[in-house]
Symmetry: C2
Subunit: 117 residues, 2 copies
DNA sequence: TGTCTATGTTGACACATGTCGAACCAGAGG
DNA sequence: CCTCTGGTTCGACATGTGTCAACATAGACA
């Protein structure tokens, strides 16, 4: 019995820099997944809530006050997970979501390098 | 006769840091606009093409080879413009798109600060 | 076993979005 | 004036997406 299904890893070595050259179709496809995941207000709030929470992780019950129903929260968290931005773990009664620091750093570099050009 | 319609400024002083605290509904709404704009593979390629082009600007004719019809290219460039990421200017026969460096830098900080947490 | 609480999944629905062809607009150059 | 070329706008269509209520599942606890 595995405790972490972890749907897909999707984007790990990700993110070619944006300024160097035009992205290829493949690269764009991969990179767009992450931006798309953050392209919804509710998901952005959930993500921000997890990232800003102490320890970089939070229980669903702590962050689900974003004005939508509980199934919708669950749906959005799943999307963020599929995009490789969050991972989840069940601890007893509650499920905790955690941010993937590597991916976040990669996204940041992608944009800051672009800005420095 | 104005040469720059510039549909809306939308997001100028933008981007509260992502790690500090959970984003409010308003902040998330504003910030998500930009991520959403970059959340499509075609738009990401177009954006990357403009950013990586010399001088940070490019004629539509230089970047429209992304596998979709020309009206679709125009549609996506409009979206990027509405999101405040690009601006456009007509110069004789051709239309040039340019990146907005301030907004790009803000987005980068938003994520790198988040990564450093 | 049963029940209660915390999350996830399903199904359905309305709405947003990406795409194209066709029509339209703006300059350049006859 | 006309015509050609580069871009945009329009109308239509298929697909994707956010949302909820209802149902299902997983532990905790009795």
């Amino acid at each position: 019995m595995r405790t972490l299904p972890l749907l897909e890893p999707v984007v790990q070595p990700c993110c070619p820099p944006l300024t160097e050259r035009p992205l290829t179709a493949e690269e764009a496809e991969r990179t767009a997944v992450m931006f798309k995941a953050l392209g919804d207000p509710v998901r952005l709030r959930l993500f921000s809530a997890v990232v800003s929470h102490e320890g970089g992780e939070a229980c669903v019950c702590d962050i689900s006050d974003v004005g939508v129903s509980q199934p919708t929260v669950s749906h959005h968290l799943k999307k963020l997970k599929e995009a490789g931005l969050l991972s989840s773990e069940r601890r007893g009664t509650w499920v905790y979501y955690r941010v993937e620091p590597a991916v976040l750093a990669a996204m940041g570099q992608l944009l800051t390098k672009a800005a420095a050009a």
